[in-house]
Point group: C2
Chain length 343, copies 2
């Protein structure tokens, strides 16, 4: 059945039936607004807009993955403040030709992440559109003091969760039609691209224990996102190229790209944070409890800019310092990463 037969109210009812009725949701889908509990005297709120043809292409991307990722990028933003995501509002612009199965698939992807994350979809808006448009807004519980971008100090350590570059390298192989070599390795990279894991436990623990002085999630690429922390905190950073955490699949398939995708690829949705050197033991301990690797990759220094050094401490020239800016014209030699990109 397609949506023009189902109708808007039929669609809303179909969506409502697929969603969990959640803890703290006093009024969910079906009224003028949702009404949700909030145990603290403040909350966090973030939003992302994903547009077909700009952020994703339905020829390459399953709707299940798209649902998962649409939610993941927002949960990651809440984690990057040290908070815990709680409720999502999901607005969809849907082509009238869509089948109800497409919608079911999309919400299956949403649920695949919402359920284990303890997040409830409480409302939204639906309307017809030429291309699929996904707008997600997520609220979260704030820690006592959310972790901003501007709190880093000179001599702070710089850490990253998980591994870097998998998503961008996976996308490159996909675009180049090179997915048949080492299919298992490629599958691992593509899974990281299609279903990024927001680091919810690590983010919440860093917020609760106030161990990070500044934090951001890596969506535009390590160098660009570290640049945001540096500018906000009014300092610079030195990254150790040989310390960047790379997955087995990345090492196997990156070839002469080296650490390029780890540095500027983007869409890792790992947490990048700064912390006092006196907290090193506590960070190691937190890594175990959050069940995610956390790697020290550099330190904050006086003066502006991010530089990358090799194991001998020599500066590495970065010809293609990049990252993503939606509105800037592309310049030759500039790599354009996507945030989020499923093209």
């Amino acid at each position: 059945m397609n949506l023009s037969r189902l109708g808007e109210f039929g669609l809303i009812e179909r969506i409502r039936r697929q969603l969990l009725v959640g803890r703290g949701v006093r009024i969910g889908i079906g009224d003028d607004a949702a009404w949700v509990e909030n145990p603290a005297e403040s909350f966090l709120i973030t939003a992302d807009l994903l547009i077909e043809g700009v952020h994703f292409n339905l020829k390459w991307t399953s709707l299940v993955d798209l649902g998962f990722k649409s939610l993941a990028v927002n949960l990651s933003d809440i984690a990057a403040m040290g908070g815990t995501p709680a409720y999502a509002i999901l607005s969809l612009g849907i082509p009238a030709s869509f089948a109800t199965k497409n919608i079911d698939d999309f919400y299956r992807g949403i649920n695949a992440l919402a359920r284990p994350s303890g997040v409830y979809v409480v409302g939204g808006d639906t309307c017809v559109a030429k291309n699929l448009i996904i707008s997600v807004c997520v609220t979260g519980l704030a820690p006592r003091k959310p972790i901003r971008r501007d709190g880093a100090a000179v001599a702070d350590d710089i850490y990253i969760t998980g591994t870097l570059g998998d998503s961008a390298l996976g996308l490159k192989l996909l675009r180049g039609g090179r997915t048949k070599q080492e299919p298992k390795m490629v599958a691992k990279l593509l899974a990281r691209h299609r279903r990024p894991t927001p680091r919810l436990t690590a983010g919440a623990l860093l917020g609760k224990e106030q161990l990070a002085t500044a934090m951001i999630d890596v969506s535009d690429g390590l160098l660009q996102d570290l640049g945001h922390i540096c500018r906000a905190s009014n300092l610079g950073a030195v990254l150790q190229n040989d310390q960047l955490p790379l997955s087995v699949a990345y090492r196997a398939l990156a070839g002469k790209d080296g650490t390029r995708h780890a540095l500027i690829g983007g869409e890792d949705y790992e947490l990048l944070f700064c912390s006092r050197p006196s907290s090193r033991d506590a960070i190691r301990n937190l890594s175990r409890r959050a069940r995610v690797p956390i790697t020290r990759i550099g330190r904050c220094v006086a003066g502006p800019g991010v530089i990358v050094v090799d194991s001998a401490g020599s500066k590495i020239a970065l010809r293609t310092l990049g990252g993503h800016d939606h509105f800037k014209n592309q310049r030759p030699g500039r790599t354009r990463a996507g945030n989020p990109t499923l093209l």
Copy 2:
């Protein structure tokens, strides 16, 4: 200057400078998420998605009006729960050819409503898009008990704030090119279409004093929105056609359309609510304090459906019972209202 020269981060900075730094906003635009205060242990949240070519046409609509209306429709949803809007998250998909002036105009419209409403824009997302896409999410302070759609009881009175049908009649005259007859009257109708007034004070007072048993804002048309209350509350309604509040401009220009636009036009953004007959004095009093007319237009009855009667109590045949459904095919004789429509 157009946006491709300004860049995404330049745009975000430009937007940030235009917005008020508000009460209760602990972290606004510029981090991974906003952090806002919430004095109660719960809050309301709602969202609307507006798409160029579906909900509005930039040939006919100024960006100032579009900004105003994008926020208005969301504030109206919070008012319809008896709450008070507090914070807005605003995601924009913007054509790369847009001039920065266009963006400034849009935010001028946002501010024209946000400022007197005490609402603060605290974040969002921006990206490039073929057509303009506006996604607004608003949170609000909840009353002790938000007013749902399902609380109406048989014998309750039915009330409406303000006047009905102005927006739809204005749009009809605009589409028909009939805006030169009675220009002052037409201007009044068009102002109601372009800059609807969310009934924030009336909504908040109805919530605070728990005087409404059920409430909704009229976006899809009186009959359709009253139908939502009736279905949710499991009852029916009788509307008195001669009691529908019509503006002077509407009476002057509706001609043989009669009350048609008041019944099914939509986009009035007036509050439609039910209340016990014992509350009539209290409603009159509330109307004075909220400085908005509130008119009793009918009553709730047993059994399903909404009927409209004339002054003699005879049922009026409604050949074109309508209202808006985004996905249903149009049938002959069916009027299609928009929610929200600036086409």
